[in-house]
Symmetry: C2
Subunit: 527 residues, 2 copies
């Protein structure tokens, strides 16, 4: 019996893990081309690339995750034999904080860096929601100057234009967490209060005093609920925001969304704030200044926005590209100052065929506490993250992708003993810079070779049988023209009858294939 | 007491996990540039990019690892909440097998694909040995034709030249696992045996019969030991191989390496085999043909090598680029036919200052069993993997790297209230395609601004104080020239005294900076 102890063969499933996917051909080429264009802009702005390791200690990553909308998300983690817990990075910001803390003596200050690469989230996958995806970040570490925030916004506008989003089809919207803090103060505090507040501790105590009925309510929870509601402004409009801040709202499916429970007059301060975006940045800033005049932190935020707007105006970035918009929230994670978001303003059709704006493709802001975790020192930082997949989808919408999807010229195999001759043809074509290959599958059925060429999106097939060889000629076939028929043709004789095929001297192979490809690239010139 | 339950703050260590590292600036740029050049060659050969997910099920990866020299290496793995074990890929070949099995109905056959990206090994890190590193592979799946192997070898030669290894500084060496199997037969079997063998089962039984003294020895172990010894030929030479195959050998440190224990006449067959590499591929193949005439599998291997050599010769790849070399082994992992290796032949100094050849930078071969694991069907495949870090090191040796390490032009800040003016200057420079940034650190100490410029390897600094502004001029400073002194200069006045600085009209900023950068790029033109 011991002799027969052969292990049972169970075949593994050929599947990506749930929530993961593969990227093929053009998808990879298009993404790399876009990232290269982005890198070019970042480079011109003085940013240096950084590729940190994909694996970090869980300790270095910390527990906080960047996006409040996904509170259940986690990381992929495992324990080393010696004891350390390791994890895949979930974004590019936490690793930057670790890198800066580790290498700060060798890095310039300020340190401008960009990073591009996959990140991983251990969360429930859904349609279009993967557990591995690309991020593309640029950050400036080590300066508290709002000039750094302004620079990131200008660079973001330049980047969008560089990858193919025309001016007018996007807008970079800027707000400030300090302005939002000021608003929260004005909403939660007694109207009569004249003492400006800067610290959250005081805010909590005072709110408890003034809202005695709500003293048991967690201030942070209310603050977060208000922020989330502001974030929905685009979707639900002013009246929707009012309902959500007070008694709740019925959504389009009829479901009841519970309200935050604010008195109507307090909720109205939020809506007043939301309509403070005026026709110019100056007017918007004036309106904010008035609304937040009682709040020290709020006024500080408005002043920072004024400086940013002035810096951008001096470089020619007008409100056609960059606007102050008080409704920008950008999650609650770790932002401490200016926050910004790039939105594409052209319309697309959603799943249900309704028109809607394309929406956000990038966002970021100032976060001054990340490095402190490691070193104890305050290190101010600001940065932006581009949603690579969303931006690719946008470029697809605008027809800015798909330039380089042409397949190789296929040298077909009529006589399998003459493989060396066919390889030599392919080599000649390649040496002239033409993408070319010999068919390496089973050559018996010629139709299969043409089906293969079709699947590869080949522009031209080269055919040389014994007859052609004897006469010193080859056949070349315009496949763009013949693609429709290719699937049905089964023999070489039928194939030769097609009009797009021509016989040329073997010596002219490279020149004639070049001409045929050029012709295929300009279909308007053909009849 | 419950009130004071504040969590204790323990600062996380700012460190990459053991065996991981970060890549900065030029390192990232150089690698990406090299990979882009490789991709261009692969593309021209008709290969399509594939980026598979970094995470696979452990089941799909299988247990076998590619490299016999590292038998203890493992993967980074963890278990999902629902039960599946997941792992980071340890190479790009196992994921290709999974991808091909999963998507075979949508992919062309043959499927030529290339892949570039990090892989992870859970092994003990050492100097220069990391647990995350890049691989760059090209494979052709779905054809058993040796034309596919020949094509990969030709492409490998083209690739090395495209990234900057001149012809003559590399050689692609080709062997065949079937030839090695034939050799093993001739070593292990009785001389008198005339019956050719093809199957390992028979081999084992017959070896047990003929080597009755060794019948308890594991044939596979002996085979592997012989292979490993052949692999050391380059290092220990013919006499070393003889010693290692028989009674063992004292290495340079005096340590005894135990021998395989073959009788001397059997071991001599291996050395005879190793010197069968002659001055031309024809002579080598002739010698192999004689040596392996008794072995069916051996002769099959020689015939395949003949076809490959003929195909390559027809495309002009002579023995200056590609040679048949019986001493190539390439691990035992999963190769079933032709194996190949690209070796750089120029000399470098090793750690101890001794001259040695640079050695292997790429290798691969035919593996016909990987996809079968998933589908049960035989799917022949062949491919190559380039050692990205080794090839980068080689290019560094050849002085082919480091072209684009120039930093940005630094617009210094003399008056922090005029940040908008400085930003506008930087924007002007960038719009002319010049890499430029404003100094965003604390501007108080001007010397620090210059130290920063130095650290960034900036070619030019732009300086505009109130005086300059009033007169409509700016100062521009050639930092390449002034770098030596920069660290000591502490005030603007001293700085202005340096000879490489010039005053120019503000309106000429872009043109004059362009000139100064061009001058810095051609140091021979300077005095």
């Amino acid at each position: 019996m011991a002799k027969d102890k052969k292990p049972k063969i169970r075949r593994p499933r050929a599947e990506t893990p749930k929530g993961f996917r593969d990227y093929f051909g053009t998808e990879v080429v298009e993404r790399n081309a876009m990232l290269a264009r982005i890198a070019e802009v970042y480079h011109r702005y003085g940013f240096d690339p950084l590729e940190s390791s994909a694996v970090e200690t869980v300790e270095a990553l910390g527990k906080f995750l960047p996006d409040v909308d996904r509170p259940n998300e986690g990381v992929f983690a495992w324990q080393e034999d010696e004891g350390d817990w390791l994890a895949l990075r979930y974004d590019l910001t936490a690793p930057l904080a670790r890198v800066y803390a580790q290498h700060r003596n060798d890095l310039p200050t300020p340190y401008r860096r960009y990073a591009m690469g996959p990140v991983w989230r251990n969360e429930k996958p859904g349609p279009g929601r993967f557990r591995q995806f690309y991020q593309c970040d640029a950050d400036t570490v080590g300066t508290g100057s709002v000039a750094a925030d302004a620079e990131i916004c200008a660079m973001l506008a330049d980047t969008l234009e560089a990858v193919g989003i025309p001016r007018g089809d996007y807008v970079v919207r800027i707000n400030n967490r300090k302005v939002l803090d000021g608003l929260i103060e004005s909403v939660l505090l007694n109207n009569d209060l004249r003492e400006p507040l800067g610290k959250e501790e005081n805010l909590g105590r005072l709110v408890a005093q003034h809202f005695s009925a709500q003293s048991s309510v967690d201030i942070e929870e209310t603050r977060a609920a208000i922020m989330r509601t502001i974030d929905k402004f685009d979707k639900v409009g002013l009246s929707g925001v009012l309902e959500l801040l007070t008694e709740g709202r019925k959504d389009s499916s009829g479901a009841i969304i519970p309200g935050v429970g604010l008195p109507l007059d307090r909720a109205a301060r939020v809506t007043e704030f939301l309509v403070s975006r005026k026709s110019s940045n100056e007017l918007t800033l004036g309106a904010l200044d008035q609304l937040l005049s009682h709040s020290r932190i709020g006024i500080e935020g408005v002043q920072e926005l004024e400086q940013i707007a002035a810096l951008l105006a001096a470089q020619g970035y007008g409100p056609d590209r960059i606007v102050i918009d008080p409704s920008v929230v950008r999650g609650l994670g770790y932002y401490t100052g200016p926050v910004f978001e790039a939105e594409l303003t052209f319309e697309i059709l959603d799943d249900k065929g309704r028109k809607r704006q394309f929406g956000s493709v990038a966002g970021g802001g100032r976060y001054d506490d990340l490095v402190k975790r490691f070193t104890g020192q305050e290190v101010p930082a600001t940065g932006v993250s581009i949603g690579v997949d969303r931006l690719l989808a946008a470029l697809r919408e605008k027809g800015r992708l798909g330039a380089d999807s042409q397949g190789p010229v296929i040298v077909t195999v009529m006589d399998r003993d003459r493989m060396a001759d066919y390889q030599a043809m392919a080599a000649e074509l390649r040496n002239a810079g033409i993408r070319a290959e010999v068919f390496l599958g089973n050559p018996k059925n010629f139709g299969n070779q043409l089906k293969y060429a079709d699947k590869r999106n080949s522009p031209v097939a080269v055919i040389e049988g014994g007859d052609e060889q004897a006469r010193g000629v080859v056949q070349i076939k315009d496949l763009a023209l013949g693609a429709r028929l290719a699937a049905e043709v089964e023999t070489n004789e039928e194939w030769k009858a097609q009009p797009a095929q021509m016989e040329i001297p073997r010596a002219d192979l490279v020149a004639e294939v070049q001409k045929m490809i050029a012709r295929a690239a300009r279909p308007a010139d053909r009849q």
